[in-house]
Every structure is written in C-alpha cells, then in structure tokens.
Point group: C2
Chain length 276, copies 2
C-alpha cells in the first residue's frame, strides 16, 4: 500500500491540517492604516491561524509618560521591574485586546493570550554571565495539546510577547522566538507555515534594491550567499532561526512584508526558506 | 422511572457539575497581601471556577500619571476614549495577567479573558437619554458553549471587566454585571454558586456591627427588611441583582468578604441569598 504518484490512491503520509503562524512587528502595529489592512488580510486567510505580535513604540511612549527610564545594554533593552509593568500593560492589554476586538469585527473569532494563559508557554528568566537582562524570558516549552484544543474550538490565537516562569513572574519575550517555538510545538500535529513579516520584501540579492527578492532559498544557497556576503548583518539570525524551525518539523518559513500576506502565503511574494 | 427519595436509585433530576463564580473588588486587588491570601484560597477551591476581577485604584493612578483627567457625572466615572485605553491596559494587561501568573504559580491552570476573547461576552455601548457614559458596555450575550469548552479543558477562567461590541470597540463593563451574566449564561449547564465579595461580612442586621451577619435571606424576608429600612442604600441593588440571578437559573448567591472564601462557599460565613 502507499507509495508516491498513485492516481486516486491515498497519500503515503497522512495529510495534516494546515496552520499559518504569522508574526508581525512594531512597524505594522505603530501604523493604524497598515494594521487595519493587515488585519483584513489576516482575517480573510483560510484555515487555522495564529498571530504573534511585537510591541511597537507605544510601550516606549507610555514608559516615557510614566517617567520610567529605558535601560539599554549593548543596544538591548533591559526589562527592569517597572519596564515589565509597562510592557505587560501595553502588549497584553492595549495591543493584544485591540487586535482581538478588531479581528472579531472582521468575523475572525480570535482569543488573545500570553504564555501565562492556560500555561501555554513556559519560560525561564534569562541568565547571562555578564549582563542582567532583567525580566526577559527564554522559552522552555509550549503546551501544544491546549493550543490544539483552542484551534479545534475554531479559535484564532493572538499571542502577546509575554511568557511566564510558573513561579508567578511574567517575562518579556522576543516575538520572533514565540512564533518559532509555537511553530515547533505545533509542527508535530499541523502542517505549519511560519511567516516572519518585517520591513523588507524578503531576502534581497541587493540590500538597496527591494525588487531583488530571492523567491526561494535552501541551506546550500544560504551558505554560499553568506560566504559571498550577499546575506549579512540582521538577516543572518533571521535565516538561522528559519532553518532551525524547518529542522524541527515546520513545513515552510516565509519572510516578507506583512502588507503582502496573501501573496506570501501563496508563495508569490517574499522569500520561502526550504530545507532542501 | 425516577422519583424522589428512592434509596440507591438515580436522582429524578440529573446532577450538574458544580461551578463557582467569584467576583472580587478593588479593595482586594489594591492590597498585595490580601490578594495573595485570596489567590491561595481561590486556587485551593475544588471544582470548576471562574474569577471576575474589578479594577482597583491602579487605573486612576496610571491615568493621573499620564495626565488623563477623570470625568465624573453623578458620581459615575465616564469612560472617554483616553480612559478606555487606560482601563484596557490596567484591567486586561496588568491586573489580569498578574492574577493569571500568580494562579499558575499556585498550580491553578488559569486563562485570562476579556469579553472580546473568543467573543465570550458581547455587549453594546450604553445609551442614556441624558448622560453620555462613553465607552461603557451593557451585556447582550455570553457564549456559554465556548466557556464550557474551556472549563472542559480544565481551565480556570479569569475575567477582566472589559467586553466588546463586535464592531471593533472594547467596552468598560461593571464587574458585578459580568459575574451575574456569566452565572446566568452558565446556569443552564452547571450548578452555579455566585459569590460577590465586598468590604463587609455579609448582609448586616445592624450596619455598624460587622458581627450581625444574616446567614440566609429569601425574597419575603428581603421585602420585610427593606420595608423596615434594615436593608438600605448600596445593599439594595446588590440584593436585587442576586435575586435576579437566582430567578435566571443560578443555584445560590453568596455575599461576603473575599478573605473568607472557603467559609463563604461552605455556607459558614457571609449571607446566602435563596429564592424560597
């Protein structure tokens, strides 16, 4: 039984349900018109889906208004206790609940979550030999059974970039990491497409030309382009994460502009990262 | 078949699963030690349960720090657009997520919700012939099927006093009302005990003596004590709501101190309101 290419037969591997996990960054959240356009596309995306949002500049504005000084070490924001209060307010309160209400208005039955909710993402406070990052979380585990339960109730999940340590502490957690960990955790039960949206159209052959998008990249080509310094700087950790996600069971990873979501998911825009 | 009083037989009416719905007010939320003690008791409460929390003074402090003036009309806070942003931050962000994380630390698998999440509580913006209350919601419906689904996944629900109108607007909504509407909506499937905690030990025969708690009150006694002005002022709407809840299918309503939660649920403290 089984075997590839049989007309009319059952596929050799059981076809899993499709799940799209889409991460949007601050550049979309800070722009009301862009966000509305993105939510239109997201709500219209068929099948099971998860949105992971970053924070945007509102947290910085609220912190400034409350007189809380932002600490930076090596260009990284330190999450002291006061900053944690602000990001919890803004990310889990303002941003998350407004996205949920706006998806509901578009007929998309969304539920907003942090990692504390339903113990969905357990993390630990980051330890570093030299730098105290404060209340920053590195993810330990995702409760795939619970999240599958919510998806089975036909809910769309909207994650704020906040996790918890199981000891009563909330933790500020990188939204890219949350998207990747959700994709890994759910990749066993679903056929996961993971979309990282950012400010460019995809992986560019010429960093100054937004039309030079590489439509597809595999590990060999990545190594080659990295050696030739066509791919450099901030794109390297993004692609390393993408290949790591593919190795852990995610079907495909796409990098591109949030404004082009339907085209990204159709493979007609952005860069699709493949493991072959 | 069936019939009451048969030894060893099936009960005539199917016994529903117990559900405790407990509303805590700002006096608990504002006091860290009181809140921790309450969460100990709440986490230890057996069976299915829902916590509904109010706001507390943090919203007022944050609004002041952000330079947002509170508008009061007839002693009622008006929720203008800026105030809605603050209550969304504080109630759905800070207060809700800290309660959830602290329940998780106590082994209670909680999930925080507003009415927008999963479209669980749909409301409409209050209309009033004389006063514009702003972004204040009056509840239209509760999605009992979804909430039952979450309870069946063994989650404890923690509601912030925020609903939505299905048109993309969040609405500031009275926490007592949310507790009552949840109790009504879930009263068809569960044997619901609804606990309103407040700053007194229960319904008092002498308003100045906290030891004069009436342990049980029915409709006839209520009318009698109201006529004699033993029950007056703020207690009247509380009891009217309690009797309304009983008429709509809630099994029992208890009023008392949050600090005495186990005794309240055991009928050994507070006032139990009954419909007979």
């Amino acid at each position: 039984m089984g075997g590839a290419g049989r007309a009319g037969g059952y596929p050799a591997k059981q076809i899993s349900m499709q799940l799209s996990i889409i991460k949007i960054g601050g550049n979309i959240i800070d722009d009301e018109a862009k966000l509305a356009g993105f939510l239109d596309s997201f709500a219209a995306t068929p099948g099971k889906k998860i949105l992971v949002h970053g924070g945007g500049k509102l947290a910085t504005r609220v912190a400034e208004a409350l007189g809380i000084k932002q600490q930076l070490v090596d260009g990284r924001r330190i999450t002291d206790a006061e900053t944690l209060k602000v990001v919890t307010m803004v990310y889990a309160g303002t941003v998350n609940k407004n996205i949920v209400a706006n998806l509901q208005a578009r007929g998309c039955d969304a539920i907003g979550l942090t990692g504390a909710d339903g113990n969905s993402i357990l993390a630990h406070k980051r330890t570093h030999p030299a730098i105290d990052y404060g209340w920053v979380g590195d993810v330990d585990s995702v409760d795939a059974a619970f999240l599958t339960g919510l998806l089975t109730l036909d809910k769309t999940l909207v994650f704020a970039p906040i996790t918890h340590d199981g000891q009563g502490h909330l933790l500020n957690t990188n939204a890219d990491t949350i998207a990747q960990e959700l994709a890994r955790g759910l990749g066993r039960s679903f056929d996961v497409s993971l979309v990282y949206s950012f400010e460019k159209s995809g992986v560019l052959m010429d960093a100054d030309d937004d039309n030079s998008v590489l439509s597809r990249i595999g590990p060999a080509e990545y190594q080659d382009l990295k050696a030739k310094q066509v791919i450099f700087a901030g794109m390297i950790p993004k692609l390393d994460n993408a290949f790591a996600a593919l190795r852990s069971g995610v079907r495909r990873v796409i990098i591109g502009r949030a404004e082009e979501l339907p085209l990204l998911l159709a493979g007609k825009a952005g860069t699709t990262i493949v493991n072959e």
